[in-house]
């Protein structure tokens, strides 16, 4: 089993490396000159020239890739052309902020999703089931910015004025120092993600509940709790983990829109800014980060799958 996991690990690393290559190449294709991008209207030829060689935009590509990769491996994400500072210092707090957003959303929606899913699976065909399924189906369909705008109208500016619609934390202070501001962004993401988990959990759980061994467990006279907890749940976890992983991965990317909408100081906002400013190394860093999140969560999901499957685990 451990061999299997190790192999999976190696593959992930390989993938990650290829991704880094891809990201680097893609971002190189970004047109426009960072120097110009920074100076904006004040871009006089002299100033551009000065800035360009200051940014060493003239080294050969492969050299820049190796430098960059070496940096990334040693935890140095490079130099932000627009802040004139290290990418680390630019992204440091933002990464934390985004992670807070992600983890909060992930934890809440996973918990809610699993519980709702199991609950409805056990009440298949009953009204509660139909209501929950219906609602989740509807929400699942809405693009995140639609949900976001909706929530702002409802809870922040127009109908009620309960929660702040934008995040304004003073520098240094962590985003959670004013929890009120986290509510809407987190809520939006939760609403986007939960339906999928719920639906998947319901589907797999229903399948498992119909399986021979669950019926057998009942025929052995086991109490319903034991049947669900010991016999059904473990089998549902494996497949659902995959979906959760996919959703988290989606979050990592989808956070862009939400952060833009709520002015949340995370990597998503940084990305949009960086793309506009042609701040190549920041774009690379953020894209790579998001990709890494995806790869890691999938790795975890697979490991969960491996562990919950004795056929493999026993090896």
């Amino acid at each position: 089993m451990s061999r299997l996991i190790v192999r999976r690990l190696v593959v992930s690393l390989a993938v990650l490396w290829l991704v880094s290559l891809l990201v680097f190449v893609v971002t190189l294709l970004l047109p426009g000159d960072p120097a110009r991008a920074i100076l904006g209207q004040q871009a006089t030829p002299e100033r551009i020239a000065a800035l360009q060689q200051q940014l060493q935009l003239d080294a050969p590509v492969w050299e820049r890739y190796l430098d960059w990769l070496g940096g990334v491996l040693t935890g140095d994400l490079g130099f932000s052309t627009s802040t004139q500072g290290s990418v680390n210092s630019l992204l440091g707090d933002r990464i934390v902020a985004s992670l807070v957003l992600l983890i909060a959303a992930a934890v809440i929606s996973t918990a809610v999703g699993l519980v709702l899913g199991t609950w409805t699976a056990m009440r298949r065909g009953r009204p509660v089931d139909h209501t929950v399924s219906g609602i989740s189906l509807v929400i699942a369909a809405l693009p995140e910015f639609v949900i976001g705008v909706g929530l702002i109208i409802l809870l922040s500016t127009t109908v009620f004025r309960i929660f702040p619609s934008v995040t304004l934390t003073r520098p240094g202070a962590p985003v959670w120092s004013e929890p009120g501001q986290l509510v809407l962004p987190v809520l939006t993401l939760v609403l986007v993600v939960t339906p999928y988990i719920t639906r998947m959990m319901r589907a797999t759980m229903s399948e498992v509940l119909d399986s021979g061994y669950v019926e057998m467990a009942r025929l052995k006279g086991l109490p319903e709790r034991t049947v669900i907890v010991r016999h059904a749940f473990p089998h549902a976890i494996g497949p659902v983990a995959q979906v959760i992983a996919l959703q988290l991965a989606w979050l990592a990317g989808g956070v862009v829109v939400v952060e833009f909408l709520f002015r949340y100081p995370g990597i998503g906002q940084a990305l949009i800014d960086a793309v506009n400013k042609r701040d190549v190394e920041v774009v690379q860093a953020v894209t790579l980060l998001i990709a890494a999140v995806y790869i890691v969560v999938n790795l975890l999901a697979d490991i969960v799958g491996i562990l919950t499957n004795p056929k493999v685990a026993a090896r």
């Binding site: 047109p31 426009g32 000159d33 110009r36 991008a37 920074i38 100076l39 904006g40 209207q41 004040q42 871009a43 006089t44 002299e46 100033r47 000065a50 932000s80 627009s82 802040t83 004139q84 630019l90 702002i152 922040s156 500016t157 004025r161 702040p164 619609s165 934008v166 304004l168 003073r170 520098p171 240094g172 833009f260 909408l261 709520f262 002015r263 100081p265 906002q269 940084a270 949009i272 800014d273 960086a274 506009n276 400013k277 042609r278 701040d279 920041v282």
Partner: protein
């Protein structure tokens, strides 16, 4: 505080308190550099941390700041600035001529020229004179050099200036700064204006998105915001908790036609274009009426503004005729637009619509701001741009001379050059006025700009904020100068 205080505070200013201001734009490239502000937050920071020798007041008159006087020699080739007595930097050190010299050396450093350098082309050298004066020696005469000196990116900083210790003579001292997010300032105890500033603390907050900024105001997360989207003026105005601050300005959003390339190398085509525009409609649709008519001339606050020239109006018939004569009936042009300023893209769309009437097909090419100011900036055939208020000659220096940094219309007219050249070297106001009016007539007839109007600056603040006044500079929120602001 969300407490529904709906009456504006009156009486003597109260000291103390923190003012939180939401400002449009900004991003990871924000800077505290006194000499190369780019985004609005940059400008706001510059204006509160640093002061140039002299600058424009709210009525767009020159006002002495670090200097107490700036005077020219008869030949207009030497200008002398005498420093204000007892003026000090944030750290308490007195401002010396050496500091002024150093500041200008930093600005005009050939290896890394700063924003202000562009308009100081004629500046040969700066030399200290005695204890409290400096002399500006020019390569060619300039009658309005004081005007050039009165720009916000020309702040005076100590000789040993270090961006990590951003020190100036401005009303506020920097305390914290996070690019793209926000910056905090505290009162400068050594400020030379007695009693000012009133605030203990000033917080400037970047906002990438308009709605986020407005929502922040509505949910009382900030006390004042610049650039109220025109759509929201009525709402905010009708909200008892809010006050609108409207200023007439000389800010303009021109369409720029390259006079050296077809189709606009034909003056008839240029005039046709100018006749196509329905200026009232522009102001109504783009600015919701918040603006004043333009007559294809800039610098409306200049004493020598050519107000005698007849106001151009939409005249489709004539436009068609001119185009026909130029052999350009049913002309098709590509208009490059970008969100360089609120209203830009909208203006482009309105123009496109108006042009249909004259049988001119306008194809919009919308690019992002970076691309717009990218490699092709200044070489688009037909595009847009955005300028703050300036007086005539400084504006000409920026955009109308062959060697101007931003001659986007590639305007290069011998007669015009001659007039401007003579005007800049004449100290006699009367004569100069004559020359300038002639020059403006030339631009009015053959220039490459379509200047359809001057946008009002509309900002908003919570009712309990006092001391903010309308400003003609075009800079929002009383020119981003918060030294007079106080909280009731």
């Amino acid at each position: 505080g969300t407490t529904a205080a709906t009456a504006a505070p009156t009486g003597a200013p109260r000291r103390g308190g923190t003012l939180r201001v939401g400002i449009t734009g900004g991003g990871s490239s924000d800077t505290l550099d006194p000499h190369s502000p780019v985004s609005s937050p940059d400008i706001a920071r510059t204006l509160n941390l640093y002061e140039p020798l002299l600058f424009r007041d709210h009525d767009y008159q020159l006002e002495m700041l670090v200097a107490k006087s700036v005077t020219a020699s008869p030949d207009a080739k030497t200008w002398t600035a005498v420093l204000r007595d007892g003026i000090r930097f944030h750290d308490g050190r007195p401002v010396t001529p050496a500091d002024v010299v150093a500041s200008f050396r930093r600005i005009t450093d050939p290896k890394d020229p700063k924003t202000g350098a562009a308009s100081l082309g004629m500046l040969a050298e700066v030399v200290p004179v005695g204890e409290n004066a400096v002399e500006f020696r020019l390569s060619e005469p300039s009658a309005t050099f004081d005007d050039y000196l009165g720009q916000y990116p020309l702040g005076i900083v100590p000789a040993d200036f270090d961006i990590k210790k951003p020190i100036g003579t401005g009303p506020f001292r920097a305390s914290t700064f996070t690019p793209g997010l926000q910056s905090e300032f505290v009162r400068n105890e050594h400020y030379w204006r007695p009693g000012e500033p009133y605030l203990d603390k000033l917080v400037l907050i970047d906002f990438a998105a308009d709605d986020a900024r407005i929502n922040a105001l509505l949910s009382s997360q900030v006390d004042a915001v610049d650039q109220v989207p025109l759509a929201l003026i009525d709402v905010l105005g009708s909200d008892p908790r809010m006050r609108i601050l409207t200023s007439e300005t000389g800010t303009w959003l021109p369409f720029t036609m390259r006079v050296d390339r077809p189709p606009f190398d034909d003056v008839r085509v240029r005039e046709a274009m100018r006749l196509i525009v329905d200026r009232e409609q522009m102001i109504n649709q783009v600015l919701s009426g918040q603006g004043r008519l333009g007559n294809d001339l800039y610098a409306p606050f200049d004493p020598d503004y050519a107000s005698e020239l007849p106001q151009r109006k939409q005249d489709i018939a004539k436009a068609r005729r001119l185009l026909a004569e130029a052999g350009k009936a049913d002309l098709t042009v590509e208009l490059v637009t970008a969100p360089v300023q609120a209203g830009a893209v909208e203006a482009a769309q309105v123009f496109q619509q108006q042009a249909k009437a004259a049988g001119v097909t306008v194809e919009l090419k919308k690019v992002d701001t970076t691309t717009f100011y990218g490699d092709d900036y200044l070489s688009w055939d037909f595009a847009q741009d955005f300028w703050y208020t300036r007086n005539y000659l400084p504006q000409v220096a920026q955009c109308a001379l062959p060697d101007s940094p931003y001659n986007e219309t590639h305007f290069n007219d011998p007669e015009f050059l001659d007039l401007v050249g003579r005007a800049s070297s004449t100290m006699d106001a009367g004569v100069r006025s004559e020359l300038l009016k002639k020059a403006q007539r030339i631009e009015y007839e053959r220039g490459g700009y379509i200047i359809w109007g001057f946008a009002n600056q509309v900002d908003a603040h919570q009712v309990y904020v006092a001391g903010l006044a309308p400003s003609r500079t075009g800079l929002p929120l009383s020119g981003y100068q918060f030294r007079k602001a106080w909280l009731g």
